[in-house]
Point group: C2
Chain length 169, copies 2
């Protein structure tokens, strides 16, 4: 490796924090402002979600699941390119095709959902040996924040604001 | 309940599928086209991710984690509003503040990541009793595709295209 270690000068461990403030605006539209808080400040990144007429929305923005699948795809792609430099793999082109399927089940007037499958197909143009490209993808999986998040069971804390303060839900 | 069951006429179970095709374009920019494939076709929803100069990008679009956190926030908000109608809870205003933290650790020239915490604060204006609002949030958690995904350990299948066909990585 001819380059300096790109982690040189960084602390060995750090935290990365993203905050989002969503406001319900249209019938089903949400306007969302995202800030990176740690390790340094970036943003606001302004986004929106909406639903089509079938779900009572006005289709003014993509549905939330479209942002989720795009975020997952962008994350692994970013990681592949960031690590390609660090692992001396030369990419001339990169395409990724992701497919996510969920199960949906009616429960009275409501419904419940569960993830069913995640498939990520990677198309890389590179003159490097296949072993190096495979090692790059293996490393990118470990460095990808969203993949690592999906690979384990996460506890999500919910609080509701009440006149007497926040309560856990 | 005065309204007809909104699930009437739907099958008791179904699958929801979103596909994304990402293309590496700028230095770190990815252009992403998302389609809903099941239960019916919607899209393409065109999005992009990029990184700031710190990560070698041109900051032409939000980073992938911004889309992820916005998707999560939009999903639970959409679910709260969709189920409010079904559970006869009248909302006059809804704000949600989400905070997601990841751990980052240097590993030689590379790094590895892991999720650390998920916090979702819900601010609802409603004249209905607090118990009804709490029940609404409980139901929304079960109906929210992204929350249900994050709450369990998911296997992600990766394939790499080679001259001899697809291989699992």
């Amino acid at each position: 490796m001819s380059e300096t270690n790109p982690n040189a000068g960084l602390p060995p461990k750090a935290q990365v924090q993203f905050d989002c403030h969503g406001k319900a605006t249209g019938k089903m539209r949400n306007d969302l402002a995202v800030h990176m808080i740690k390790p340094f400040q970036e943003g606001p990144f302004e986004m929106a979600t909406d639903e089509g007429p079938f779900h009572g929305g006005d289709a003014t923005a993509p549905p939330p699941l479209a942002l989720f699948v795009a975020g997952l795809t962008g994350c692994i792609m970013t990681q592949i390119r960031a690590f390609a430099k660090r692992m001396n793999v030369k990419l001339t082109d990169l395409d990724v095709k992701t497919s996510v399927v969920w199960d949906w089940e009616a429960k009275g007037r409501l419904y419940e959902t569960a993830p069913y499958s995640f498939d990520i197909d990677v198309l890389i143009e590179s003159d490097d040996e296949q072993d190096k490209v495979v090692a790059l993808i293996e490393a990118a999986k470990k460095g990808c924040f969203i993949e690592q998040t999906l690979g384990r069971s996460n506890a999500i804390r919910h609080r509701l604001k009440t006149p007497d303060g926040w309560i856990d839900v």
